[in-house]
Structure formats: C-alpha cells, structure tokens
C-alpha cells in the first residue's frame, strides 16, 4: 500500500489524492518534489558513497545533467546533520551496517525536501535498540522540520509509545487516531486472537498468554 501511495507501484483500486489533486494527475517530476520514499528493497549499487547517495535525493531540483548548486549542498548538509551521519559522508554503502544504511536512506529522503516522507517498514532487519533509535529519529525529524512522516510497521508496541497518530489496518475496518485515543477505543484488544496475545490497556503493551 505504501508503495502505491509513493507512486512506485500501480494501484489495485480506489483513488489517492495529494493536495486535492488525484495522484495520477501530478507530473512525475512534480510528485518527486512532494513525496519522498524509503523502501524495503536494497539499493542497486552498494558502491555509492553516502554523500553520492544523499546527493541523488536532490535530483528533482537539479538541471538536466544533475549539477549540484550551493543550495543543494546546503540541503544535503542539513540532512546529514539531522540524521547525525556527517562522519559517514565518504564511506561506501557496503561498509555500513543495516542501521547506518537505513539512516542514510532517511537522510536521502530528507534531502529530497518533500512535505511528505513515506517509509516502508523502516525497522526491519534491525535489533530492538536500533529500531527504537530509528523511530525516535523519525519523530524528532517530524517535529523539528514539520514534515509529515508516514511509515508502516509491525512493531505495534514501539509505535504506541512513539507515534503521534496511528492507523490500524485490519481486514474489516481500520481505525485511526492518536495511540491514547486508540487505547481508549479498545482498538488493540481484538487485534490478535485473545487466547494467544492480550492487550494490557494500563501499560499499553501486549502480553503473551502462556
């Protein structure tokens, strides 16, 4: 679904509107200045340096051959600082850990300077510590830059603690609201079969029934 929202994959049915205009009526270049994505698929060339990779985020704004202007360089540096990876600048991507690479991909999306950033399961392949780090980073970025950051995740427990708004996708109906509202609405109670996992509204966490 996120890939469809990011105009990377064609939609199956329904309609998507961005800024009151259907997604398909946006030009490809116009959309690139509105929405940036971080996908689950690995990048094609791990031989890129971090700086080269983040610079590619400026493509929607550069000329026909992709020359970086002073403004582009400034935006790239801002992105590097926000994600705190300035010291990785000249490393090659194959030298990075999964967590570092994910940060670089987020920096690239920030450098693309869009109002909306979509991330497809940004925390997969990471351990608990790095999962929390990435999500805390995203929250900080959303609050400091006033960008909308939308991501999909299976990590409900961390999401409950860190997200501003959540949309729970279920087969029959999906509910949307802040984590507290959703807890009050008892939206999490029936998420999993009650004989295996139950939700503790007091602590906002799930419990495995032994």
């Amino acid at each position: 679904m996120l890939r469809t929202l990011g105009n990377v994959q064609p939609k199956l049915s329904g309609s998507i509107t961005l800024n009151k205009l259907p997604l398909e009526q946006h030009s490809t270049t116009g959309l690139a200045a509105e929405v940036s994505v971080v996908l689950t698929e690995p990048i094609a060339s791990k031989n890129l340096t971090v700086l080269e990779l983040i610079s590619l985020g400026r493509q929607p704004y550069t000329n026909w051959i992709g020359t970086l202007t002073a403004e582009d360089r400034e935006k790239i540096n801002i992105a590097l600082d926000l994600v705190q990876i300035s010291e990785l600048k000249s490393k090659k991507c194959y030298e990075l850990s999964d967590g570092q690479l994910q940060r670089v991909m987020i920096a690239r999306a920030i450098a693309q300077d869009t109002q909306l950033i979509l991330l497809d399961e940004p925390t997969t392949h990471l351990d608990l510590y790095h999962k929390v780090q990435i999500l805390k980073l995203l929250k900080a970025i959303a609050h400091t830059t006033k960008k909308t950051i939308l991501f999909t995740t299976h990590e409900i427990e961390i999401a409950i603690q860190l997200c501003d708004k959540m949309l729970i996708l279920e087969r029959n109906q999906s509910t949307f609201g802040s984590p507290c509202e959703l807890i009050q609405k008892k939206s999490f109670e029936n998420l999993f079969p009650a004989d295996t996992i139950t939700f503790d509204a007091q602590t906002g966490s799930f419990r495995v029934n032994k």
């Binding site: 105009n7 990377v8 990048i43 992709g66």
Partner: protein
C-alpha cells in the same frame, strides 16, 4: 602514435609524426601506409573501444548487474546471428536475397537488427523475471542459439561465405575504409549523445528503478533511450568490427576502481577514454610489431581482459558496481 608507428612495416615514430602532419617521409610508401591503413585502424580502435566500454557501462547500470556486458547478455550473439544470416544465408536463400549484396551497410544493418532484437527479448524477460541470474542464463542461451543457427547455416553455405563469416567473427579493426569509419563514428556519436542525456536517470538507477521513479525519472522513456543507445553502440561496433570480447565488461569495472566513483558524469567520459586506450593497446599487441602476422583482435582482448576482471574480483573479493 605508437599504435600507428608499429605494424608489419615498422615505421620510426619520427617519420610517423612527419606523415601525420603532412610532411614527406623518407620512404614514400610509409605515408601511404599511414594514411590509408594505420590511421583508419587507430581511429577504429578508438571508436570500437569507447563504444563497447560505454555500452557495457550502460548495461551494468540498467540491469543493476556487474556481470552485464554486450557479450554476457547475448547482444553480441544477436549481432553475430544477424551477420551470419546475411553472409551465410545469402548463399542459402540466394533467390530471396538476390538484390541484397553483402556489403558493409547491409552487414551493419543486419547485425544491428540482430543485437536490437536480442536486447528487446532480454528486456521483455527482465520485466517478467526480476532475478538477474536468470537473465544472465537467458543471455547465455541466446548465445547457444546463435552458435547452433550458425552451425546449421555454415553446413549449407559455400566455403567462401563461411570464410567471410569466420573472419568477421575473429573481430577485425584493420580493414575499415574511411567511409565505414564515418558510419561507425556517426552511430557511436548518436549513442554517446543519448547516453549524455541519460546521465541523470543513470545515476538515479544506481538506487534501483523504484527509487529512480520516486526521484521523478520517467522510467519508461529512460529505459528505452538507454536500450537504444546500448543497441547502437554494441550493435554498430560488432557489425563493423566483429564481435570483440571483454572491453564492454571489463572497462567499466576498471574505470570505477581507478576513479573510485559511481557518478556517471565522471564515468561516462572516463570509460570512453579507457576503452579507447585499452583497445589501442590490444590492437598494438595483436599486430605483433615487426612481424607480418596479425592476431585476431577478439582473442587478444579476451586474453588481456579476462585476467583484469579476475584480478579485480580477487582484490575486492566481491564484485560490486
């Protein structure tokens, strides 16, 4: 220069320079040899080397595969098939081809069409199968089909035609006339021009197609432009100079190592230059200075190119592009 001065008839460097700038040489025939044989050949080597190297770079980026090259993906096989059908088939279907003599233009056209068809087939397969390994195997299969068709055709054709084909398949950059050279120059110039306009999409493709699309790249248009450029470069070169191995695969890797970058703004001119240099070196070796024999250039590029690729692999332990 060295390349021009060396050959069956050894001409001193000084005299070579004289001939090039239009002064009389000690021996009259030297000037003739240089202008009508050596210089066209050197130019051909430059064009062939840079054309193949660039087509290799385009394919490696487009297919996101370090093993891609005109040979591995069957593009050269396609060109061979086109050439074989024309040279060998002309004797078999003499009735149909009565009007079409085997001349340079038709040979170039046939091999270009052949390489384009294979490239299109590979693209169709690539769209269906995301697995790049499968793609490479399919490229190899195209190679096998070509070999098979060529064997069938050669069984039916005359010895003379067969010889013509075998010589073509050795790869030769020695017998192109100025007119053929001009044709090759035009084909390669168009290929380079399209590539220059594709630099931005090529760089975006380093992240993969989905990311490229999200960066505002019109993927359909860019993909076709890059394929057309590759087809022109690889097809044109193979058509006029025969199949020449490893330049297309090896030079982009060599260049990436030397410049330590993936930016096509730098890589594109760099592979053109390195392709040309490597081809000139290979050609100089192929001529076996001071002897009357000329080795098939295709063999030389393989002998030099394959160890280079192996060396790169051993040094890096993995092939990244």
């Amino acid at each position: 220069m060295v390349n021009i001065s060396l050959g069956s008839v050894s001409i001193p460097l000084q005299e070579t320079l004289k001939a090039i700038i239009g002064k009389a040489t000690k021996v009259d025939s030297w000037s003739y040899i240089i202008w009508n044989y050596r210089i066209p050949k050197a130019f051909t080597a430059i064009l062939v080397g840079s054309g193949l190297a660039l087509s290799g770079l385009l394919m490696q980026t487009l297919f996101r595969n370090p093993l891609a090259g005109p040979f591995v993906l069957g593009i050269s096989s396609g060109a061979s098939l086109g050439a074989a059908l024309l040279i060998l088939g002309s004797s078999l279907f003499s009735g149909i081809f009565a009007f079409g003599m085997v001349n340079d233009i038709s040979l170039a056209l046939a091999s270009s069409i052949g390489s384009f068809l294979v490239l299109l087939a590979v693209m169709v397969v690539a769209a269906k199968i995301k697995d790049t390994m499968a793609l490479l195997i399919i490229g190899l299969m195209f190679g096998s089909i070509t070999t098979a068709v060529v064997s069938v055709l050669s069984y039916f054709s005359t010895a003379e035609k067969l010889q013509q084909y075998v010589y073509w398949s050795f790869g030769s950059i020695g017998n192109l006339s100025w007119n053929q050279l001009l044709l090759l120059l035009m084909i390669i110039a168009i290929g380079i021009l399209i590539s220059i306009f594709s630099i931005k999409p090529l760089n975006a493709l380093l992240l993969g197609e989905s990311y490229a699309k999200s960066l505002g790249v019109n993927m359909n248009r860019s993909r076709y432009l890059i394929i057309i450029a590759t087809g022109l470069l690889a097809g044109g070169v193979t058509a006029l100079a025969g199949p020449i191995a490893f330049i297309g695969l090896g030079v982009p890797h060599l260049t990436r190592q030397i410049f330590n970058t993936t930016d096509h703004k730098i890589l594109l001119p760099a592979v053109l230059i390195y392709g040309a240099i490597l081809m000139l070196i290979c050609d100089t070796i192929a001529q076996m200075p001071n002897s009357a024999n000329v080795l098939p250039i295709n063999a030389i590029t393989s002998i030099i190119g394959a160890p280079v690729v192996i060396w790169l692999l051993l040094r890096k332990r993995k092939m990244i592009f």
